[in-house]
């Protein structure tokens, strides 16, 4: 009997390649995106991104509506960064109309966009904390984010969708009472942000999960066209607020935040530092708000647009957002093309999941049990000859090894 066992000349080694669908329901942030991850053991060997779950045909719809109605449509492309979308589109319209908004309106636009950057970064950082399993921090950050939402409500009249920007200015002005309220909120928020910053820098859980995970080199960032805080965390100083100097950014002092490390922790810390810069910008604007009119009379704006085209960029919280608007005269735009930073950052980072553990793939991290979709192949090792042969699953089932 024992001799028979020793006579075994073949070992069937089955490397399990698991295909793990991450998403499309709530991969990490609550947005529909499917990242298919192929894992061998704990390590990712391949990843694919499948998009298109949230296609709403907004660009086509924009051609059907009038130039002015599209401002509200563009604001609804993204809920978190609605002001930057509206600002980018409106600046394109102003370029076609050859119109310049008054300085006070420019400052107020900048103020709302910076408030938006604050609450967007806070949301992303809170979700990061939640994904690595630090739910207490998530709750605390979301509570303090509410203060900035209140500030946005004071300025624009709504917590989330601002609908604040119009051709030639903004929709409502600030008075001294509101400015005092805003300043109070900013002084309340600043120590909280500094506190969370320290938590991110010093907490053991966050350090273990974020440091040296998902590293991107500056070469990878530039060759894959990554934008925003992702690029800045790898030391690539790209910021269209600085390059383009639109609205009041030419007059407001600020700095581009970069870090060298390029890992998940660096991206979080870049966002924290950017929040600090945003707070400084907001405070500068509230102290140096120019006098004059900011709200134009909407009834006097031209109904028909001249022929022309415009290409505008804005630094959204996630990176550079671009709009291309083409007018052939009349009331409707001929073409509105939107390119959002998330598209670059999500699709083009897919190869970089490889060689990380499954738990490091940001989407699966928190909420999904991996499900085994298929087992693709086995390897037969001939012990006598020392060769390896790949056999398909069907042949294995037939016993044809």
């Amino acid at each position: 009997m024992t001799e028979e066992v020793n006579k075994a000349d073949k070992v069937v080694e089955i490397p399990m390649t698991l295909e793990i669908p991450v998403g499309p329901q709530h991969p990490a942030l609550h947005e529909p995106l499917l990242i298919k991850v192929y894992a061998e053991g704990e390590y990712v060997i391949k990843a694919e991104a499948h998009t298109g779950y949230n296609h709403r045909g907004i660009e086509k719809l924009a051609e059907k509506k009038s130039f002015y109605q599209d401002i509200f449509l563009c604001g609804r492309v993204c809920g978190i960064c609605n002001t930057v979308h509206a600002d980018c589109y409106v600046r394109a319209l102003e370029h076609i109309l050859n119109k310049e908004p008054p300085p006070r309106a420019k400052y107020l636009r900048t103020l709302t966009m910076e408030l938006e950057r604050l609450h967007s970064h806070m949301l992303v950082l809170a979700v990061t904390a939640e994904i690595v399993g630090f739910d207490t921090l998530f709750m605390h950050m979301m509570r303090d984010r509410e203060l900035i939402m209140k500030a946005k409500e004071i300025v624009t009249g709504n917590r989330v969708i601002a609908d604040y920007i119009m051709v030639g200015g903004v929709r409502r002005d600030l008075n001294s009472e509101k400015i005092d309220k805003l300043k109070k909120i900013l002084t309340k928020v600043e120590p909280r942000i500094r506190y969370y910053w320290r938590v991110f820098e010093e907490d053991v859980t966050l350090n273990k999960r974020l440091v040296d995970v998902g590293k991107l080199t500056p070469v990878q960032v530039t060759s894959h066209g990554l934008l925003g805080p992702v690029a800045r965390a790898s030391g690539v100083a790209t910021d269209s607020r600085y390059h383009d100097a639109y609205d009041a950014y030419a007059e407001v002092p600020f700095r581009i935040v970069t870090r060298k490390e390029g890992d998940c922790m660096a991206r979080s810390l870049v966002r924290f530092e950017e929040m600090q810069v945003s707070l400084e910008i907001c405070r500068y604007i509230l102290n140096h708000l120019p006098e004059g009119e900011a709200v134009p009379d909407e009834r006097r704006l031209p109904r028909r647009f001249p022929e022309g085209e415009a290409f505008t960029t804005v630094e959204a919280p996630r990176g550079e957002l671009t709009y291309y608007v083409m007018s052939k005269g009349g009331v409707n735009p001929y073409r509105v093309k939107i390119r959002t930073p998330s598209y670059n950052n999500i699709i083009n980072t897919v190869p970089f999941y490889v060689d990380h553990t499954i738990a490091d793939v940001p989407a699966i991290l928190a909420s999904y049990d991996p499900c085994i979709s298929c087992m693709e192949r086995v390897i037969v090792v001939d012990l006598r000859k020392g060769t390896r042969k790949r056999v398909s699953m069907r042949d294995l089932a037939r016993g044809d090894v």
Partner: protein, 141 residues
């Protein structure tokens, strides 16, 4: 590694007031000029239909003012805008394009109801009934 006083924070919060608002029982504080329910004041409305044309979400329909109301003479066609609040996106474009500034702005945000949610009753309540004594013209001018 330095210790973060998160535990201190948590203990402090156990004894403080909860941050959550028990919404239906407790009111959510909103700014007095937050964008809430808006409706047309029919003493000012001239029935020009501009708000209906410009509405981005097509939430406004023009309707005939029913019999039994005193309609100002400026509103020759005797029509008025009815806002469907379930379609409305509260962008307030109707408010800013109105040539007579007829829209009344409120910060009312609690619009959930069994009945159809529109501005019909609110707008008609701004008009006087014809059975009452004749009005002294349009005071808002």
């Amino acid at each position: 590694m330095a210790k973060i006083p998160l535990l201190k924070e948590v203990v402090k919060l156990i004894f403080s007031k909860p941050a959550t608002i028990q919404y239906p029982r407790e009111e959510t504080p909103v700014e007095p000029d937050a964008r809430g329910r808006q409706y047309a004041d029919l003493n000012k409305c001239v029935g020009c239909s501009l708000c209906m044309i410009e509405c981005p979400s097509k939430a406004i329909k023009m309707e005939k003012i029913p019999e039994g109301y005193e309609v100002p003479k400026r509103n020759a066609r005797k029509i008025y805008p009815v806002v469907d609040y379930l379609k409305c996106i509260f962008c307030y474009r109707c408010v800013t394009v109105c040539p007579t500034k007829a829209y009344v702005m409120t910060s009312e945000y609690r619009l959930a109801s069994d009945a159809p949610v529109n501005s019909r009753e609110l707008s008609l309540s701004t008009l006087k009934k014809a059975s009452q004594e004749p009005s002294q013209g349009d005071e808002e001018g």
